[in-house]
Amino acid sequence: MTAAQPAAQPTAMMSGRYQRAFTIAVVFLVAGWHLAGAGGQLLHNRSAYSSFAFQGAMWLVMALAIAAGSVLVLRGTPGWRSAWAVALIALAASTAAAAASPAAQMLAVNWSWGSAGWTGVLVLLRRRFAELACFLAAEALATLGVQVWDGLHRADLAGFLAVLAWSTGAQVAVAAGVRALDVAAGQAAAAAASEHAARERAVTAEIIRASRHARWLALQQTAVPLVAELATGTADPGNAQVRIRCAVQAARLRRLLAEGDEVPGSLVHELHASADVAERRGVAVEIETAGPLPQVPGPARRVITDAAIAILTAARSRARITLAVVAAGIAVSFVADTGAVVGLPAGGEGVAIDQQQDGGMLWAEARWNGQ
């Protein structure tokens, strides 16, 4: 399997692919037999038949049955009606051809028994084995019936049994072989699928491990030194600057914890990314989500995150971003101590932006309407 294959290859699909290959092989086998084997015998014995035209017509009927059967099996396992319709046409053509053969040398010039049997194998291959057995038995009995009608001699019976043994034997062997291959293909596909799933799990585990490691590293650079300073007493919690640093780290820790539980899509992640920059500047940012949010399209998200960046850049020490479902859309709001009105984007893409200044606090809301 190459890397370009789709990630999840269902077992059924893979084993289905093998089964189709076996079906095509059987189609070639049956068509080849009818053209070369049966056709060759028909031409070779053409002078022996009382009516070569009738035998030729039956051969054509059989060829049409094989063509119809091939179409059926290449489309999938045929239903019992269509499968048996084809099989019975083949049986009828074969019996008619045998009955029209000269009585004394019926078995010697019979071209049709093999073709009818192979046609049965073709259409009944993936149905219950008993159906194929019934068909082959019916075919053998029909031929035997013609022979008995013509007059059965001991030598004829021996010939009949010989033809039965090798022709029907070969047909049963091919059918059983294809069934065994089907089973093997199913097992191989299941093994490949489970190996694929194991590889997938390993890759996922590696991604999770890497992102954990990245977050651990981020804490190493920022939170750990601060905790160390607090522990050794070099940082004084009475100092406002230290308290703001603590608040920023606390917000980052909270966000790391929150990232696991609610991820309603790219908007929240983009807001987190916007908040990151403000946090580095010393602004404590909290992001809260109320309920499962609808997916917001890309252009609308850009309008919202533009507003977020404008407000977070103006925030002095803290900002709260909330996302909530409102009728037909989502309300993203910002409360921050900007100290003044902030120049915000005009909205658009279904997003309306509103703001209100109250003391030193700014409230702004970007409302996206999904309809």
Binding site: E288, A290, R320, A324, S333, V335, D358, W363
Partner: protein, 237 residues
Amino acid sequence: MERPVMVAIIEDHPVVTEGVASWIWSDPGERVRLVHTARDLTGLRAAPEPRADVVILDLELSGELVTAQIPDLVAAGYRVVAFSGHSDPLIVMETLDNGAHAYVSKEEGRDHLVEAVLAAAADRPYMTRSQAKAMLADQRPARPVLSEQERQALLLWFQGMSKASVGRRMSISENTVRQYISRARAKYAATGRPAPSKDALLARAIEDGVIKPGEIMPYKSFARSAADHPSSGAPGR
């Protein structure tokens, strides 16, 4: 002066207990008195007098969620204020449904815990932003019906505005904002599992004019319509 509210802290991390105690002690009016601290709920039964009015309950004790213990505490006559690091709306809802008076997340503790304890002792509604968040996120079919104004006030409060700012935004008085938010809280007390704390909250809300008995309709009218139509196959109640 009124008798202070007696409070117990059930919390498995001593450092958190210390922090909560320091908020209680730093209350300028000394309106709350800490009478008991314990690391699990077994300690509460053996607690000496005076008895606590309100229990500040950490929802996760020794790694286990204890929301299922709240009905017993409430039945024993305590008012429960949940104090938790979880902010999952489902946990908040379960906590309130089990009869807790208020839900205070650990981030909100400094601003809200003492006030929530006082409100719980008086059976007055209290709404933290994490509670508002859980109510806005509530999608259950049996959720109470909030009016447009109640929902808008709740949303702005959740967003982080002060109640005065919410009033200016909605062109109503700060008192009306409180009224809307309290009414939303009271409506939640009228749904779900019955509990004495919820009955007390509702009775007080009606007495204070926060909500009219007729506004607690959705839940009761459902029960009545089921009783009116016994042919529907539902057992009568």
